[in-house]
């Protein structure tokens, strides 16, 4: 079901009504029913895969929990009789068994994910390889990728790892875990939540509350505004630039890249606002995914403020496990001895980062472009980690004050440009197309003589004004958000009736500019994951 449809509005209206009419202990049942219904509407054939992930994780987690509890009980009961070695041996054996179960479940689910996501990419590489020997590997696979497989697999495996590490208790009720896996506001584009956070929200009773309703509804409308007006109009411009940059000036192409930066932020964060707003009405608090990312002062900081839940997931389940693993620690010690303290400190982290970022790139897309994208991001972060010391020295020597307004503006501007260039790379088409676009920006220096030469991808004037207004409004809201919640600010400064008028105005903007722009264009960008 498309989010931008009357059917979806009716769907969430129905959900809210039923949710608050049923007795509180059935509320999570309602969420489960609507989530499965939403998923089935998106693709009934994909449902078995979702069920497979949820059930395999439920069973494995229970197994692991039961074994861990049994071991603990046994060791406590036989504390006096067992020697230290016997205790260690028993613990090691238990850990090995639990680890085997964990590994199997991870392999199963990651395997399913990889097969669906990467079958075309792998077949294309096999074909390229075969081509070297005059052979051919044809790709006739027509499987439909299960909706949200990248998101729900990660979220569920996160739960499993948390149980394995003792950070969470295994859920005994399979239906509760199924809700965690299939919760529809998160299924197509995240955020990826941790079990402890989300389960506390999902299974607690919720009452209808005016503040939650009002703030949630405001956020919902704001999300539709960002998504339908800003993102969808911009997506028309961006598609034009990506297809035609070869005949546009470098400056026009650069402006097109900036449009992409605005578009993907408006699209993705707009979706988040819609879902977080909806959940707020229901009394559920979803993990935030964005924190004014374009105000970041470094690429590393950017990744702590953009798609935050994914970054946190990779940090907890890929980066840390690799970085603190035994072999990596040993490598660090060896490096410290042979190559010096800096290497000793940074090498384990670097290796973990390389793996994390290549995986992040692959997660975003099955192509060399995305792998390159992940690699470039990783390189910047690794580089800035290594250069932390020298940077501090240079800044001191140049007498640059960290808190100086000008310096901070420089950092923000530099980071924004860097991040925009990097993110455009895999989006144009193939890796070669992305590099072609970069080349165009830097090598084509003609100056435009008219507005239509400067913005050749813009058609009608009115949608452009709508875009400028909406992006400007988003920027203003972001500036205000640094000091605190904008909705709270509205409540303090703007009278009740006027506040309603503001949102009525947004509604008509969405209707007039957003609906025509959303006729098939600009589907939620992250929804194919």
């Amino acid at each position: 079901m498309s989010i931008l449809s009357v059917s979806f509005l009716l769907f969430i209206l129905g959900l809210c009504l039923v949710y608050f009419l049923v007795p509180k202990r059935f509320q999570w049942w309602v969420l489960l029913a609507f989530s499965l219904g939403f998923y089935a509407l998106g693709g009934l054939l994909s449902l078995p895969w979702l069920l497979l992930t949820a059930l395999s994780a439920w069973a494995t987690a229970r197994y692991i929990q039961d074994r861990a509890d049994a071991e603990k009980a046994f060791l406590a009961a036989h504390k006096a009789e067992l020697s230290k070695e016997e205790r260690s041996a028993r613990k090691a054996k238990g850990k090995k068994t639990r680890r085997r179960a964990l590994t199997l479940c991870i392999l199963l689910n990651v395997g399913v994910l990889c097969v669906f996501k990467y079958v075309h990419f792998l077949l294309a590489q096999a074909n390229a390889l075969a081509g070297l020997f005059g052979g051919e590997v044809r790709d006739s696979v027509r499987w439909i990728v299960p909706l949200g497989v990248s998101f729900y697999t990660f979220q569920t495996l996160g739960y499993l790892c948390d149980v394995y590490w003792g950070k969470a208790k295994a859920e005994r009720n399979p239906l509760k875990l199924l809700l965690f896996t299939s919760f529809f506001p998160q299924i197509t584009q995240g955020p990826i939540s941790a079990w402890n956070d989300l389960s506390a929200q999902l299974f607690a009773p919720h009452s209808l509350d005016y503040d939650s309703f009002s703030l949630g509804a405001q956020r919902l409308i704001w999300g539709f505004f960002k998504k339908m007006v800003a993102a969808n109009i911009l997506s028309g411009y961006v598609s034009d630039v990506f297809a035609n940059y070869g005949s546009y000036s470098g400056l026009a192409t650069f402006l097109g890249a900036l449009c992409y930066a605005a578009q993907i932020y408006a699209d993705f964060s707009g979706y988040m606002d819609i879902m977080c707003g909806l959940c707020q009405i229901l009394g559920i608090r979803l993990t935030e995914n964005f924190e004014r990312p374009y105000f970041s002062k470094s690429v590393a900081e950017y990744w702590r403020r953009w798609h935050m839940s994914l970054g946190v997931w990779f940090k907890n389940y890929v980066y840390y496990p690799i970085a603190v693993s035994k072999w990596n620690q040993r490598l660090g010690k060896w490096a410290k001895k042979r190559l010096g303290k800096a290497f000793g400190n940074y090498l384990p982290a670097t290796l973990a980062l390389v793996v994390t970022w290549l995986a992040t790139g692959l997660w975003h897309g099955a192509s060399w472009g995305y792998i390159a994208w992940g690699g470039v991001n990783g390189l910047f972060i690794i580089f800035s980690m290594w250069m932390e010391g020298p940077y501090a020295k240079w800044k001191k020597a140049l007498r640059i004050r960290e808190s100086a307004w000008l310096w901070r503006a420089f950092q923000v501007g530099r980071t924004f440009l860097l991040v925009t260039f990097i993110k455009v790379l895999p989006e144009v088409g193939s890796l070669r197309d992305g590099l072609g676009l970069w080349k165009r920006i830097f090598t084509e220096h003609s100056l435009p003589h008219s507005l239509s030469e400067l913005l050749p991808f813009v058609g009608d004037r009115r949608p452009l004004l709508a875009v400028l207004f909406s992006v400007g409004l988003m920027f203003l809201v972001s500036l205000l958000q640094r000091k605190g919640s904008v909705r709270a600010l509205l409540r303090r400064r703007v009278p009740y009736l006027l506040r309603i008028c503001v949102f009525v105005f947004l509604f008509f903007l969405i209707l007039y500019f957003g609906v025509p722009a959303s006729g098939g264009l600009g589907d939620f960008i992250y929804a194919q994951y």
Partner: protein, 76 residues
């Protein structure tokens, strides 16, 4: 405890480890520093630290870290 404080000051000397109790939640220590911290602690105290120990409660203050180290040593 002194050894622990030595490690901590080596990584970030500008923090008052007696009073600071939001080293992780307050983002005083970033993910690079945490890795360095973990490798140094495991080396110095000869213990194995795994992802299961990586919860904010264990690392938010020097005292919490010390408590975690002690409990690992006790179990062995």
């Amino acid at each position: 405890m002194d050894e622990l404080l030595e490690i901590l000051n080596d990584i970030n000397p500008d923090v008052d480890y007696e009073t600071e109790d939001r080293l992780i939640d307050g983002k005083v220590y970033d993910s690079f520093s945490i890795i360095t911290l973990i490798s140094n602690i495991s080396e110095t105290f000869n213990i194995e630290l795994g992802p299961e120990h990586l919860i904010p409660e264990n690392f938010n203050s020097a005292a919490a870290m010390w408590k975690m180290i002690q409990s690992i040593l006790d179990e062995e």
